[in-house]
Structures are given as C-alpha cells and as structure tokens.
C-alpha cells in the first residue's frame, strides 16, 4: 500500500540526528515492546509480513506522530485484537507460549524465508527491467519511488516468500528475488545527486522486461 511507511524520496523530515553514545533502549517500555512483539510473534498467529502491514496500516497521522516502538506497540495491539488473543474464551495458557529457556534457540534459528522455485528465472544478471507501476491496496515491498523506472538486474537470489501474499493469509507464493540497480538520474531526474545508484530487492512479479 502507498502508506505512511513508504518514505523513499519524501521531504520535510529535517536533518538526520545521530545521537552520541546512544543506548539500546531509551525507556524501559521500549525494551518491553521489543520483547512482547517477538514473544507474541512466536505464537504463530501472524508472520513478519502481517506485522509490517499492521504497522503501515496505522493512520498516517498516528504513524508520523509516533516513535518507532510506539508504532510497534500499536501494531501489536491491533494484531492481538484482530486475532482475539485476549478474548475470554481463548485457551490459557496459549499452547505455543515461548518459554524463557527457548529464547536463545528461537533467536539463533531465526526464520528461513528462502523457498525453492521450480521455474527458471525470468531475468538474468545484466537484464534491463522496469519496476511495475503497481498500486496495490494491500502489502507490498516495492517502494513507490522505483515504480515505473528502469533498472538492471544485478543478482538473482533464488526463491523467497512473497510478502504481498504472505501478509494477507494467501500463503507463501514464493517467487525469485532479484537485486535491481537504478541509476540516480533515472529515479530522480535532474535533481539526482551525481554518482548515485540505488538498489532494491524485488520479487519477480514486481518486474517486467524492457
């Protein structure tokens, strides 16, 4: 979706403000939100794409006025509500509750997002491709600033779960993933900084041959 998360090329946010000796968390509640989000994710009711979609689905005024962990918190609240996890009739405890003992292994394992794809790659390294001009109402990982623009395939990474399907309960629908490089002037025209190139990682259905 063309939501508030799609920030590439937007203006008006002011300077970047690095913080010297920045702590990992700026308040105790931020740490709790991180922990709650990861632990709740382990329950299996949603995946990372659904989480991201919950965040980008916050009203833009809320998204822009919220700190990062506040966005996480609001999305977590929304996911819990949607799944009814706090309803009186939900079983207690949840059968997949993450135990403290299981945390190190869960973090160390992560989640493998790669999936085999039988069909041969549609594009090869060096091919010129156009990022499709799509404007889906749901989740996508093709940012608006590259849509309609022509780039070059730099690498093919094999199959990966497609977020556009996965975020909405439509399965993993794996597709090949490519790194596509765009010249700065192709993306930003005469206002591009000289000597710039920008790449995105794009699923095959995001691309069309030129």
């Amino acid at each position: 979706m063309n939501g508030p998360q799609d920030l590439g090329g937007a203006m008006g946010f002011g300077p970047v403000r690095p913080e010297a000796d920045e702590p990992v968390f700026h308040a105790g509640w931020e740490a709790r939100v991180l922990g709650l989000t990861l632990a709740a994710g382990a329950l299996g009711h949603w995946n990372i794409d659904a989480s991201r979609h919950a965040r980008e689905s916050l009203p833009p005024a809320v998204y822009h006025a919220s700190s990062y962990y506040e966005i996480w918190l609001r999305a977590l609240e929304a996911l819990i509500e949607r799944q009814g996890l706090l309803r009186p009739d939900a079983p207690v405890p949840h059968p997949r509750r993450l135990s403290a003992a299981a945390v190190p292994a869960a973090i160390a394992a992560g989640t493998d997002y790669a999936r085999p794809v039988a069909a041969p790659p549609r594009f090869r390294r060096g091919d010129r491709v156009r990022a499709r001009n799509i404007h889906p109402r749901g989740h996508t990982r093709l940012p608006r600033y590259v849509r309609g623009h022509v780039g070059r395939i730099e690498a093919e990474h094999g199959g990966f779960i497609l977020p556009d399907a996965h975020a909405h309960g439509r399965g993993e629908a794996p597709e090949r993933l490519y790194t596509v490089v765009f010249d700065g002037a192709e993306l930003w025209g005469p206002d591009a900084e000289p000597g710039l190139s920008v790449s995105v990682d794009a699923w095959e259905s995001y691309l069309e041959p030129v």
Binding site: D6, L7, V16, A31, R32, S99, G110
Partner: protein, 213 residues
C-alpha cells in the same frame, strides 16, 4: 519479577503514559498465558547485552586480515558470518558489500527498519527515523555530510534499500596506517556507522613510526 523493573528515573513521579500502556498490555498477555515475562526478559537481555556492533566489527576485521574469509564473505555472507557464531533472527540472509575507492555503500530500509541484527544489534533511532529513510535514497551525500562524512567528489555512492529479507553489512576499506595491527585491534576501529555506510572506520590512535598519517 524482573519485568516490573521498568526504568523509573523519578520514583516520586507517576509513570508516563507509554510505560503504563505497555505495562497494561503485558499484564493482560501474561494473564492469558500468551507470554512468559521471563522470556521477555531473555529477549531484552539478548539485544541489550549480547548482540551488538562488536559482532560485525569482528567480521570486518577478519575480512581485512584473512583473504580467504573475505572471499567467502563476498560469496556467501550468511555462511561466513554464521561460522563466527553470528546468525539467526534478522540475519538469516546476509550480504556483505565492500567499499572501494570508487564506490561507497550505504544501507537503508525506506519501508520500515530492516537491519542485520546478529552483526549490528538493534538499529539506532536515526536509522529508523523518517529523515534517514526518506533522504538516504534521494540525497545520500547530504545525509553523509550530517554525519561529518565528506566523500571525494569522484566516489560513487551505492545505496542498498533493504526491501526484502536480505540484510546488508558494509565492509569498509581498511584504513591506512593499520598494517601492523591484528584483527582484535582492527575490530576496535570498526564503528557501527562504518558498517551501515554513514561513517568510516576510526583512524588508529598511534600511527606506526615512519608511516605518514
């Protein structure tokens, strides 16, 4: 219970609204058996104390000192990094990108905050900020200037927007004047910013005699 020990800098002041809101949510989730407070503590402890940019610095220093490892890192960063014990969540599919005199790499996630946790820990606030996310792909040179980094005009900038599950680690160029240093000493020069691309490695404090600074 450790999860009750949120920071209270002023014990006589009421907790702020976010602290209260999170505490209420956690209490409800604990009551329904959705989360174990000790598991939350363990997750927090992992990222507050165990995982951080020191991991990535060790990877970079080894790449600077071990050509075979550098080659492996280039070909299969996930496996090369995992061989040093850094793997897992938000680092499942790693890619190392190497700075050269002609091209400087910069990593961003315009759509959220994708970041290689096993090697860099959790991202700093600026990395997640709308200012960085919006501008890194449009005017990286201006952004770098705000970090005090002025690249030579002839150096190209390559920005990697982390739009999928690949996570990027920038391998900066080894600073001059570090010829005699071992991997441990070199790792101390490798800042988090150098591995995102908003900085360069620190210059070694003591330049060996005879080497111009």
């Amino acid at each position: 219970m450790p999860h009750d020990h949120h920071d209270h800098p002023h014990h006589d002041a009421p907790p702020d609204p976010m602290t209260e809101r999170v505490r209420r949510l956690e209490a409800a989730m604990v009551a329904k058996g959705l989360v174990d407070p000790a598991a939350i503590d363990a997750i927090i402890e992992t990222y507050a104390e165990k995982v951080g940019p020191k991991n990535g610095a060790a990877v970079v220093a080894r790449a600077w000192t071990d050509p075979d490892f550098a080659d492996w890192l280039r070909r299969d960063a996930t496996a090369a990094i995992a061989s040093m014990g850094y793997a897992g969540r938000q680092g499942e599919h790693m890619q190392a990108v190497f700075n050269t005199p002609r091209e400087h790499n910069l990593v961003v996630c315009t759509l959220c905050s994708c970041y290689p946790w096993p090697v860099l820990g959790l991202p700093p606030v600026w990395y997640k900020s709308p200012a960085y996310r919006s501008r890194a792909v449009l005017e990286p040179r201006s952004v770098l200037a705000e970090f005090g980094l002025e690249l030579p005009p002839g150096t190209r900038i390559r920005v990697w927007d982390s739009t999928a599950e690949l996570r990027y680690l920038v391998v900066p160029m080894r600073p001059e004047g570090t010829e005699g240093m071992d991997a441990g000493a070199l790792a101390a020069l490798v800042t988090r910013e150098a591995m995102i691309g908003t900085g360069l490695p620190k210059v070694p404090k003591r330049v060996p005699a005879g080497v111009p600074s």
